[in-house]
């Protein structure tokens, strides 16, 4: 129908497959996110550390370069690439992912709830699960780009420089890196979406995402001191995640909680977040 006619005509064309529709939210959310210059700058900044790691890996595999700069051999021998390097990588990039989540997460669900747009999504052939998946995929994709994808690239660079023997002996590091980071970004995404669904004011929601970690850590430490136990650490999600990374990267940890407790803790956090989303992502508000 030509615009100038301005009469109603029904759509008679083809339709897209139902399984792909969650990506629509992903696309529109991205378009909105990249309008923020701060986000673009912060996103770029999150690649500095991986670039530093690339330089480190190159130097550790090319010690002759250091010698040519006059750096003594004992110091050169200090440079080595093992699971600890990738654990630190997780730690640093995990922190970037956390800050990115606090910035992006609140703007995902709350704008739809503030002005009651939820029934418009859900009156279409589009489920609540697809809605959550669509919004979550924004964070998962963005955080993947700053976490496990550069991590795997680092691993590939190291493998190409160190040779087949190192690669076969350390292939598990790639798996640990990917699994560890995917768990972290899933937890972050769920927390951010749940907070965004419950706190409509974006700034407050961003603050709350940060607060969940800081307040949890503080409260956990206080609980440990008062109750003389180690279970308060379970409230410190950063420490919980570090425990899991340590287990995955086969590095010992001094904290009292076991890796098993840490996994259970994260599962509980994810379940709570899903429950919170289930309560809020619905086509109408239940007023009691």
């Amino acid at each position: 129908m030509a615009v100038y006619k301005r009469t109603y005509a029904a759509y008679q064309g083809s339709f897209t497959p139902a399984w792909s529709r969650f990506m629509i939210l992903h696309r529109y959310s991205f378009a909105r996110l990249w309008q923020s210059r701060f986000l673009v700058m912060f996103f770029m900044a999150s690649f500095f550390y991986p670039l530093g790691c690339v330089a480190y890996i190159y130097l550790s595999n090319n010690l002759s370069v250091l010698s040519s700069f006059g750096i003594p051999a004992p110091l050169s021998n200090f440079l080595k690439v093992d699971s600890s390097l990738f654990l630190y990588f997780c730690w640093v990039q995990g922190a970037f992912a956390y800050l990115l989540t606090a910035f992006i997460g609140p703007s995902l669900v709350s704008p739809d709830l503030v002005n009651g747009a939820m029934p418009l999504y859900l009156c279409r052939p589009f489920s609540r699960a697809e809605y959550v998946l669509g919004k979550m995929s924004v964070l998962i994709f963005l955080l993947s780009v700053v976490t496990w994808i550069p991590g795997l690239i680092l691993f590939v660079i190291q493998a190409s420089l160190a040779g087949w023997e190192w690669t076969t002996a350390n292939a598990w590091i790639a798996g640990a890196l990917m699994l560890g980071m995917l768990v972290w970004i899933t937890v972050l995404s769920l927390i951010a979406l749940a907070v965004s669904a419950w706190v409509k004011w974006k700034i407050a929601a961003g603050g709350l995402v940060l607060g969940v970690f800081f307040a949890g850590a503080g409260f956990g430490t206080a609980l440990n001191s008062v109750m003389r136990t180690q279970y308060g650490t379970l409230l410190n999600l950063t420490q919980v995640m570090y425990t899991i990374w340590s287990q995955l990267f086969r590095v010992g940890t001094t904290e009292g909680i076991s890796a098993r407790s840490a996994w259970i803790c994260l599962a509980v956090v994810c379940a709570i977040c899903l429950w919170m989303l289930l309560k809020r992502v619905r086509p109408f508000e239940v007023v009691k």
Binding site: V3, Y8, A10, Y11, P111, M118, Y121, C123, R124
Partner: protein, 305 residues
Amino acid sequence: MDHPVIELAGLSVRFGNRDILKDLRVSLTGRTIGLLGPNGAGKSTLIQTLLGFVPLSGGSASIFGHDIRHQTRELRALVGYMPENDAFIANLTAVSFIRMMGELAGLPPEAALERAHEVLFYVGLGEARYRLLGTYSLGMKQLAKLAQAIVHGPRLLILDEPTNGLDPPARIRMIRLIKEMKDTGRMHIVLCSHLLRDVEETCEEVLILKKGRIVHYSNLEEERRANKRFVELETVGEEKDFTGALTAMGCECVAAGFGRIKAVLPPDFELREIYRLAAERDLQLRRLNYRRDTLEDIFLKAMEA
């Protein structure tokens, strides 16, 4: 085989211990269906139930033969919904918003963009389509809601209080759009409104709810035909004999006092007979109002029932 637009078979909905909809049974086939009732009658709940938002506590319902419990996805592809309350994304332009809604309904991105432009022009927001929805006036938001409901060309359009908060010109425009869409013959419309005039102007069938029950169902066209011989008279003089004469000729008369008479005329009755009977009795006819039974009359009767 043609299925009814909406078929309710003992549909019941319960929130906690409270019955919201009770054993609704009706088959609606009209092109435009009005849903009427006082506040809290269950109109919006019925709409939300039909859309699959609210679980049924009993009975069943179908839209174009699709069961609302088991074929929700197929059903939603056929339906466009304009909610009563504000429903928009403030920081999106109208064209982006409508395009996204079109894509979510299954339109390919290019087709959705084209349709978004078309429907925005159609509803009268063409010049404002690149403005953020958050900057729209209430009337414009209503039109944007209508645009998102029709962007994918639904077979059934559900409008929940579409003229809420509109000024008279905007209301007239909205009613005109609804009539136009009805007249295309491609779309069935369910109009839920408190405003009897809106329903009367646009609907063929009316379902009146009260306290979660259907208290009246009528085909307005048939009602109009059935009540076309309905007169209101205002007389001066001795009316008793006159009403007696009318009754003897098969009219159903009700004297409302002060010379006012309401009479339902039999099919073969000619209006000139009224003048003749009045002249014979030297009765002054100050007013003769020939009118059909209005929706207001139907509604008030249903509420009294």
